[in-house]
Subunit: 242 residues, 2 copies
DNA sequence: TTTGTACTCTTGTCCATACAAACTATTTAT
DNA sequence: ATAAATAGTTTGTATGGACAAGAGTACAAA
């Protein structure tokens, strides 16, 4: 990677360094644990003082993006991601906004016949055809969450849509369906075999399970969604006010 | 207020300054918006360099506790309360309302000395005496959740109170302390040995961990609480509105 | 009374320097 | 072969200094 800083820029040096470091952080090598260049070398390369560099590094360390140890060096922190439960819109959008490259490992869409449970949740006849979406997602260093979603047939999804797009956007713009309420159950459980394989953990290890029923503003259910998160990489945050 | 720093202490100067600032932050005058002493004066008073002082100040600024403006000075950040409301998570109350006989298996109260982490959470000096409450609770057929609570010394708890009473009721009626905001982190993990024993599960089985910081209406922290729930017996429910 | 200028105050940016602390690697002694 | 000592590496702590940028205030001029 090319290290460069514009000494004539109006942007403060420490801000430019911060951005450079953020770019480095998402580079594959560093994301996998390789040490960043040491302070003295990097400062020299950039033509700035060590303290200016440290100012930027401290900020990223404080944000949890870098880990520093004297005598060893500086590394990118291994990711565990958290999300605010009450925040809307979607998780993926939030990750993108945070500059965390959240990617799809696998997407599988199918039309399936609603079983008893799904039929009851959607108040439809068992055997009705609906769209089922399975997505495996995470960061470059590995999968983090498996989503399994079922959509109410009322929406009109065919299964031929582009499911790499943000889901809520597609529902709103293409199907005039607005997600407004999410009712969720969060629990912990031991990973069953199929989920363990997908998330690259051992069967029986703890996972966080999130079951969501999403409703439109008229409180009609539109989506039933189960998420399985690797427990070591995921924490929910929530603020509750009385 | 007396500004003092122990230049012979093993604790780094910037850490002592940080603690001093945290103490200042909770002082009434500053909490109401009065400017802190300027950098140059404060550094002189403390006998440290301006950069050492700034290092500590930056940390608190980054934590959202201080607001700094060039040409004006440094003030304690004013907290605005989130207007979004969700259900209040008084678990015991909810169980009682549902007619589910939720009982205490074990209660243990002690006065303990705040360690580094607790001290930082409460913005008090390490070694300050506080009340720690440990409760094992569940249904008749077995324990379900282990609570570990620490209370801010400002409340005035002695450890001699009746902890079989509902906690919030006691805080409000006897100590004029009103829990208003709860900030929570929910995650899954494998049960460590001590928790597994308490919950009557095997070490390594999944548990749901809930870390709560409870604040009064003035956004002052009053309680730090860790709950470990048996994953097989607990699901967290929440409604989210856009 | 309004506007412009100068000054003061305070934080922001940046630098160079020195030594401490913790860790790893190498060399030397047993 | 192993332990101890030494050297090297890197971040942590701390200092003193200089100048810039932005905000507020005081005062003079119109």
């Amino acid at each position: 990677m090319e290290f460069s800083i514009d000494h004539n820029s109006a942007l403060p040096l420490h801000a430019q360094v911060e951005q450079l470091l953020r770019n480095m952080i998402v580079e594959e090598d560093y994301a996998e644990g390789k040490l960043l260049p040491n302070e003295i070398d990097l400062a020299k390369k950039l033509g700035i003082s060590r303290n200016t560099l440290r100012q930027a590094m401290h900020k990223l360390m404080f944000e949890g993006l870098l880990v520093r140890e004297k005598g060893i060096g500086t590394r990118v922190a291994s990711r565990s991601v958290n999300t605010r439960l009450t925040d809307w819109p979607s998780f993926t959008q939030e990750m993108n906004e945070k500059g965390i490259p959240f990617i799809n490992f696998d997407i599988h869409v199918a039309r399936v016949y609603a079983d008893e449970m799904i039929a009851q949740i959607f108040s439809i006849k068992p055997g009705t055809q609906i769209v089922k979406l399975e997505r495996l997602r995470g960061l470059k260093d590995g999968p983090m969450v498996q989503f399994i979603s079922y959509f109410h047939p009322r929406i009109g999804l065919t299964g031929q849509e582009d499911y790499t797009r943000p889901l809520n956007e597609m529902l709103e713009h293409d199907f005039a369906t607005i997600p407004a309420i999410s009712r969720e159950e969060i629990s912990a459980q031991a990973a069953p075999k199929d989920i363990a394989v997908r998330l690259e953990i051992k069967k029986g290890e703890p996972i966080l399970k999130r079951v969501r029923k999403v409703y439109d503003p008229g409180e009609r259910i539109i989506e039933y969604n189960i998420c399985y998160y690797r427990a070591d990489k995921f924490t929910y945050l929530i603020d509750i006010h009385r």
